[in-house]
Amino acid sequence: MPDRDTPLPAAPQSRAVPKKQTRLSLVWIVPILAALVGLYVAVTRILAEGPQITIVFQSAEGLEAGKTRIHYNGVDVGTITTIRLSDDHQRVVTTAQMAPRTEAFLVEDTKFWVVRPRISGANVTGLGTLISGAYIGMEIGTSAKSRRDYVALATPPVVAGNAPGRFFVLKTPDLGSLDAGTPIFFRRLQVGEVASYTLDADGHALTVKVFVNAPYDQYVTPNTRFWQASGIDLSLSADGLSVQTQSLLSILIGGIAFETPATGPVLPAADADTVFTLFSDRVEAFKLPARDPQTYLLVFKQSVRGLARGAPVEFKGITIGEVTDVRAQFDVKTDELSVPVTIRLDPTSFGVALVDAGPDQTSVGAHQKLVDALVARGVRAQLRTGNLLTGALFVALDVFPDAPPASVDWSQKPIQIPTIPGEMEAIEANVVSIIKKLDQLPIKAIGDDLRNSLVELDKTLGSARATLDNADTLIEPSSGLGMELTGTLQDVSRAARQLGGLMDYLERHPEALIRGKTGEAK
């Protein structure tokens, strides 16, 4: 340590630098505070920012960027921010800013649609949109897979996704008067509605998705029949006029009814999305299922006017099948026009049982033997008028012992059953044959003969008149014959009077016959 008293060497004096005045004003708190608040707001905004999604619509009608909301169960969960046309100008691509924490909603099977006021027969929906403008409806899917781009549904789903119940699928060739929202009846009680319908890709049938509310969905079993209860079903067939309705509501807007046959086995409730056939009416729905339908061909040479598809085929008055097809064909070789009618026979489906058919009743051989035997016995097909009013025809299979013998050609497919002309046809044929016979009569010769005869007759009549004239002169009152005749008649009259007196007397005195006239004086 250096001694304090030791004189320092000539050290330079340190330069005094005046202290820089770095007085920081308190006012800087203001911008710092502003920045902090701004940062806080920005952060909360960014954190509050929900996911962005794109929704593709067919049309932007009623949609407005920045205004149109996305609602889920009435809760505002997002806003449409931009609307633009797709690159091919066919669709409308919108961007939507979703509310925060909606990521979980945006999954694979989430659905969006535009809610507009909708008035269908059964219900009025989206009335609020009349004032507020259209909004986007949303249904949250169940998938776990996240998704950000959606294609909106063309029509809003009728049934909310979380409503208790089950969807079923109906297949129908004809939509009838069905529409989304059409009611579904079970014992005339409305238990559900039609959710949607689509035309199958092949264009042959429609797939109708229906929703049956809980707890009624438990009454739908795999054996349940669905049928169209659309409006008033008026059908005029060979069976006459039939009218079927379900309820007043269904008369107005149509409907679907279902019922489970009471006879079948008791089955558990059907799974969701089970496919059913939608029958056109209740009768059809409750026909027993075809077990082993056999198709036959009947070739008629007469008019089949009045024979419709579905017309019954009756065997001795019992329905055993129906007409499936009516066509016309022209045989170039024989120059013959004929009408092949395809029928389908399935006696079991009409409740006709084969008795004692043996164990092999379903085998081909037995079937062939049966048909051969029937045809040999004179079974023929005939068209008959089922309803005189409508002229509807049906096919009758009946035994005609006098029919010309025929056999079945088993090489053909389908097998042809011989036909005989129908009743009307037979009458027609008879009339034709009568006319033909009439045609063959020698009318001219008959006429000539007739004229000769008439001339003769004229002559005969002339002579007859002469004879009568003679007779006339004979019986004239002034003639002698007449005088005598008058005298004779007067005698006869007198004789008769006397005879009358005698008879009188005899009546009173029969004994006079034996005893003679006695006791006159008594």
């Binding site: 006012v27 800087w28 911008p31 502003a34 707001v41 905004r45 505002d76 004032i131």
Partner: protein
């Protein structure tokens, strides 16, 4: 010193005098470290506003910070039967823009968007030039300062209109209007720019010129 007052005329400060900001009396500064007060009107006297540049910068930066959310956030939330709608200032301008309503739209555009931003830019320009000791176009800069001071307060119109609307349009349940966070930031911008203008001492513009003259004399 000529008859015409040059831009570089001596200032009261250079002569060791303080000018009262309220009554204009020139007086000698008080002895010692104590702040002097005007002998006539008792206003606090200073040669120059204390920390003028620093304070102005602080308020200006705060205003600029608030300007962004003021324009991005909605200022009004209108709730009608159709749902709630939040509009920013610019959306309001667009909304008002119509063949007949464009003057109104223009007023909102000028008063609420252009004036605040112009104020911030103008003050920034004044601060930078003063700090750099610029002596260019002093007269124009003081004119700019006066203009900013004059028109700045009118930006508050938007805030008033919005708050009045919110107070008056309460037709529940048909319609109601509520102020949204943007309005707060907008009001902050207006107030902060006014404070910035207030804390800026225009005499600083001349100080640089005088200092230069002294330096170059």
């Amino acid at each position: 010193m000529g008859d015409a007052v040059s831009a570089t005329a001596a200032t009261a400060m250079q002569l060791g005098l303080q000018r009262c900001g309220a009554c204009g009396l020139l007086s000698r500064p008080a002895a010692g470290e104590d702040a002097g007060h005007c002998p006539r009107c008792d206003e606090a006297l200073e040669f120059r506003k204390r920390d003028s540049l620093q304070r102005t910068w602080a308020f200006l930066i705060a205003a600029a910070v608030c300007y962004l959310p003021a324009n991005v956030l909605p200022v009004l939330t209108t709730t009608t039967a159709a749902g709630a709608d939040s509009d920013t200032i610019m959306q309001g301008v667009v909304l008002l823009w119509s063949p007949t309503g464009w003057p109104l739209s223009l007023i909102v555009l000028v008063a609420s968007i252009m004036i605040p931003s112009a104020k911030i830019v103008a003050l920034g320009y004044l601060l930078v030039t003063v700090q750099r000791g610029s002596i260019e176009s002093n007269a124009q800069r003081i004119r700019l300062y006066r203009t900013v001071e004059l028109i700045g307060r009118w930006s508050m119109v938007d805030v008033f209109v919005d708050t009045f609307t919110a107070a008056l349009v309460q037709l529940q349940p048909l319609m109601s209007v509520r102020p949204a966070p943007g309005l707060l930031f907008f009001a902050a911008v207006v107030v902060l720019t006014m404070l910035a203008v207030e804390s800026f001492d225009p005499r600083l513009i001349w100080d640089a010129a005088s200092a230069n003259e002294v330096r170059y004399a």
